[in-house]
Symmetry: C2
Subunit: 148 residues, 2 copies
DNA sequence: GTCTATGCAAAACGTTTGCAGATAT
DNA sequence: ATATCTGCAAACGTTTTGCATAGAC
């Protein structure tokens, strides 16, 4: 995918690498994690550049910025609206798509008198691994699993 | 409401004031805002005490901690599960209750194979005031309005 | 009297920014 | 050529923490 250029968007090496890094990862990286990964390919990259670029890419709709209860923003190559399930034990975040939530939007509009343009639901609970670990008394490692 | 005491919960003056402050406010204060308010009554209070106490009160279920896209945690006297509508113009946050969202939980459980224990939806859009301001070309001040 | 909580101050985070020099256009 | 971007480094706001003292029980 090529970046759509709005007024004065310059295609720099750094931006290309940062975008490629987010697009090559199937999950929800923090800006810090992206910085570390980009630095392996381009050691002189600055933290500030990564932050600025990630927000720029998000504004251009090329990636999506997500916010969870922990403090760090996460970035996702998936730009379509979707929701997330978060394991309170191991911290893994898994994508889900909950069409029912679209109905909730109208209810929220009626209650609040807002004009609603987007919404995001975070579900908290235990992933399969941590459910099992709980039964055996063990603690699950942070194993990457994604909802199908 | 009196704090339920678990093992080694001490009723201190500071804790009582902090709890009373959250319970007397009808909205979503940040920890910093709560600190400022508590300090008017109890000028020697420390930031650290406010933070520690707010989390303690949240763990005990006396207040609720909420996280939005901006960085600061907010604290709410409402402990029942509910959702929020956020105005992207003026930043106001309004409570809503979206029972439909309960159905979404089962869908999310099936898709993720998680055992889900809680969920929270944030809707983004424009409040009535900012809708009006947009029409007239004016910018709305941050006026407190709550959904009925 | 003992054990926990507070106040203080420093540090740990994630994030943002001003600026001079480098680079895309 | 020039307007924008990068790298650097410092600053910012929120949150956490170590430690000695004060206070609840």
């Amino acid at each position: 995918m090529v970046a759509e250029k709005s007024a004065s968007y310059r295609n720099t090496t750094q931006r290309a690498i940062i975008l490629a890094e987010v697009e090559s990862y199937d999950g929800h990286l923090t800006a810090g994690e992206i910085f570390e990964r980009v630095r392996r390919q381009y050691p002189t990259i600055a933290y500030g550049t990564v932050y600025r670029t990630l927000h720029l890419l998000a504004e251009h709709g090329l990636i999506q910025e997500l916010t969870f209860a922990d403090q760090a923003s996460r970035f996702d190559k998936r730009v379509e609206r979707h929701d997330h399930v978060h394991c309170t034990d191991c911290g893994i975040i898994v994508d889900v798509d909950v069409p029912v939530a679209l109905m909730a939007r109208h209810v929220a509009e009626e209650q609040s008198e807002f004009t609603i343009t987007s919404h995001h639901t975070v579900f908290n609970g235990l992933c399969r691994t941590c459910q099992g670990a709980r039964n055996t008394g063990l603690r699950a490692a942070s194993i990457s699993v994604r909802a199908g």
